[in-house]
Amino acid sequence: MTGFRLAQGGRIDRSRPLSFTFAGRAYRGFAGDTLASALIANDALLVGRSFKYHRPRGIYAAGAEEPNALMQLGVGERTEPNARATQVELYDGLTANAVNAWPSLEWDLGALTGLASGLFVAGFYYKTFMWPPAFWNKVYEPAIRRMAGLGTAPREADPDLYDKVHVHADVLVAGGGPAGLAAALAAAQAGADVLIADEQAELGGSLLSARATLDGWLRATLEELRGMPNVRLLPRTTVFGYYDQNYLCLLERRTDHLGPAAPAGISRQRLWHVRARQVVLATGAHERPLVFAGNDRPGVMLAGAVSTYINRYAVVPGKRAVVFTTNDGGYRTALDLAAAGAQVLAVVDPRPESAGDLPAQAHAQGIEILNGHAVVAASGGKRLDSVSVAKLGGGAARGVVCDLLAVSGGWSPVVHLFSQSQGKLRWDEAKHCFVPGTVTQAQRSAGAANGSFALGAALAEGFAAGAEAAKDAGFGGWRAPEPPEVDDPREAPPLALWQVPGAEGRGKAFVDFQNDVTASDLKLAAREGFESVEHLKRYTTTGMATDQGKTSNVNALAILSDATGRSIPATGTTTFRAPYTPVTYGAMAGRDRGDRLDPIRVTPIHPWHVARGAVFEDVGQWKRPWYYPQGGEDMHAAVRREAKAVRTSLGVLDASTLGKIDVRGPDAAEFLDRIYTNGFRKLGTGRCRYGLMCRDDGMVFDDGVTTRLADDHFFMTTTTGGAARVLEWLEEWLQTEWPHMKVYLTSVTEQWATVSFAGPRAGDVLRELSPALAVDEESFPFLSMREGVVAGLPARIFRISFTGEASYEVNVPSHHGLALWQAVMAAGEKHGITPYGTEAMHVLRAEKGFIIVGQETDGTVTPLDLGMDWIVSKQKDFLGKRSFARPDTSRADRKQLVGLLPADPAEVLPEGAQLVWDAAESPIRMVGHVTSSYWSPNLGRGFALALVKGGRDHHGKTILAPLAGKTVEARIVAPNFLDEGGKPLHG
């Protein structure tokens, strides 16, 4: 037994014992513990296996920077991978497992890879596993995935609730340590709306980990802040992303600490979207590891973490301790250990002398100080058993038997959020760390995050930053209160020791624990030419994975700078990216899941389609009936029946989703003339015209039928998916190029329901439902509109056709849509009326060679490519016309629309199939592709539309579609399959 719980002290509640399990074993802890502190109290320091070599790893840190103690929390639908044990608040009934141990933590088969570790050098993904090629899929990848995986995602849907909050704040303070609290207090007293967030359950930051605390000040400050109406304190809330214009995202964990006791109906986590006038970053600092052989043995821990465990959680991670430090801070840990009853065998300090106050205190307590020395190696298996200490510059190493080594390689300000905000870092030569340099947003850093590690300086900076932030947010004229008195010890300058000399040849010296990257991996990568820090990261994987290199980045780039002979600032850092710590997908999705992911638009007739068992297709946000299966029909059978019915008798389609735009004003006709490729000025009132619109580059943009309702009033229809795009397009030209034109546009898509019935019996149905209307050819010709009464409902009746059959589209106010549909169904019953969906509609229009924008076109197709010159005006100008004369647009070998008839009538080509003239040549030349392809019950064969280079010159020729396992031959024909034999077009 080495790790143990102190009888007194700390911030745990000994009256509330909690039970939990780790790796299948039951343990006890107390309220106030983290999973990590409770494990240490139970002497269960071994918490995982390393990523590549499966070396035993122990708890290393006490906060977000923890690289080793990654936990799989819970089981089943609520399991969560890769939680850092150092950040998991203990609750009763918590279950946790190591994420990377197979088959078990104690007996890990993967540790055998340690014996073959020559295979896992820098760039091992690109070297070891490349040969033989066939091995990657079958052998290497599955093996790597099983051994190297970090945790398991739940397979079930997340049962928990998540929320989002959007707020504005005058001042957002990230971090609730001394500097952050001081900033929040100063800003709030000045009158600013303040939001202060801290990732921990308790605000106080480093004050919670120190013996000489400002407990009184902390209590008074928290009390004052809680009492202020303009302050929001957010504990358990991580500021994880800093975006443009002071837009920040926060993750609040509301019930995670309650475990199964979490009340129902309370959201588990909340995502805060904050727009802040001013930001204060008080995010503290992370301690750096020291790099020597065996520095990953369980029992080697960051010195600050050791102090935190002792002072905050009343657990001592070892009984016989050595401290290895490059700065005075490590001596504080030595004093904490001694005060907690552990034996401090030595403080190993590579500096030639230790002149500060803390070393003096340690010396006075009889702690041995080894100046000019370093720990060159640590040994032990699942637990540290000894360290080797040697004089710098040579000399025999001396072994020290110990079970805890507290290390401190100095401190790195947590500049993640600062860097995300596009701030530029500056290398501080005296402090040996990157500190915030050039600021680009309305923001300031304070305290350890700014490189001011001493408590007094941090507090002073915090108060000043808070007051200045408030002033810049419009709350000036307030003098910040004086910071509390702090008696900081006098400190001697720290030493930069990026890699312990004399450690070579003694074993692996790790830089990145989470990714198992060693100092020699980094040097090898540099020798192989990966000299840019971004290349180094990708090649060695240092700084990747869930901790994003919080403990390893600075050491790694310092070693790289040494290997390449450049300074550290010249070497630079990799990019800091959001999120600072992992964020659940649940929180990002919030309530926008399932049906709430995206708006669902349905027509007034939708309930009828549902009752009739329609299968729906998503068209943009619309739900459209795709087909209506009957009595066990599959899709093909249903579509065959529906498409046949339209040609032989009568079909009915819900066309309500078509985009509808009301175009009104004295210049409406002139405006449409400029928009459409064909003319609208001369269109008679009550007449309809199909139109194509192009972008100014001449490419087809949308199509639809527009009807003239009056001299100055048009009713435009657009494609279902293009409605919003078209409205924006029209507005753009009206507002930015032709502001003098008097035209007003109104979207009326939702105002009208449209029932389209088509087929030889369509006229009979209209006559029955609208007895007063003259439906004969002469009084109601093709491409015209009549206003009248249909089934007792006020209606606009359009005689237009997208199928080639006689067809009427009846528009009624939306709330009458279902009634109209039911009336049409009743009247059509004697004709065998068949509701048809979008798939049959596509078949029918393709038989006629009618295009669908977005299917036959893809933004690179002109009306001329489609063979639609008949719709392109020679007289007037319109958008896109000039571009038809561009050399590229008028090439003869552009892809042109053709029809295809496969040689085998039973063949239905896949849409998107590539088309070639010669399948044997190499490289094979692609000359076109299939845009639409169906089985036609009316033709009794498969048929397709395609775009083929110079296709109109190749009617009658055979083209090839090389598919998987076969090559299909097809004859190129004109893109109209019904009228090929001279059969007249129905109207």
Partner: protein, 93 residues
């Protein structure tokens, strides 16, 4: 996500807007009297400065109006918004 001050509606989230690219591109008055090179210039070629940029935005999910904005393409700072017929503001230093 930007907070964009629509000149008609005030500050709104970027999600309500649609980007319209470079502002103040003059469409040739007579496209058919414009040579291929000049027409291609108008159609395809856009400035891509690192710094201040005059650009068009449309408040698509709001008032549906187009306006111009002076934005810094690195810092996303917004120096000015103005209506299509307002005078062009000077670019900040």
């Amino acid at each position: 996500m930007l907070l964009i001050p629509c000149p008609w509606c005030g500050e709104r989230d970027e999600t309500e807007f649609r980007y319209g690219g470079q502002a103040h591109l003059a469409r040739p008055l007579d496209p058919h009297a414009t040579g291929d090179a000049e027409w291609a210039e108008y159609l395809f070629m856009r400035d891509n400065p690192k710094g201040w940029f005059r650009e068009r935005w449309n408040h698509a999910a709001g008032c549906r109006r187009w306006f111009n904005m002076v934005r810094h393409t690195v810092t996303h700072e917004i120096a000015a918004v103005y209506k299509p017929d307002d005078p062009k503001p000077e670019l900040p230093e």
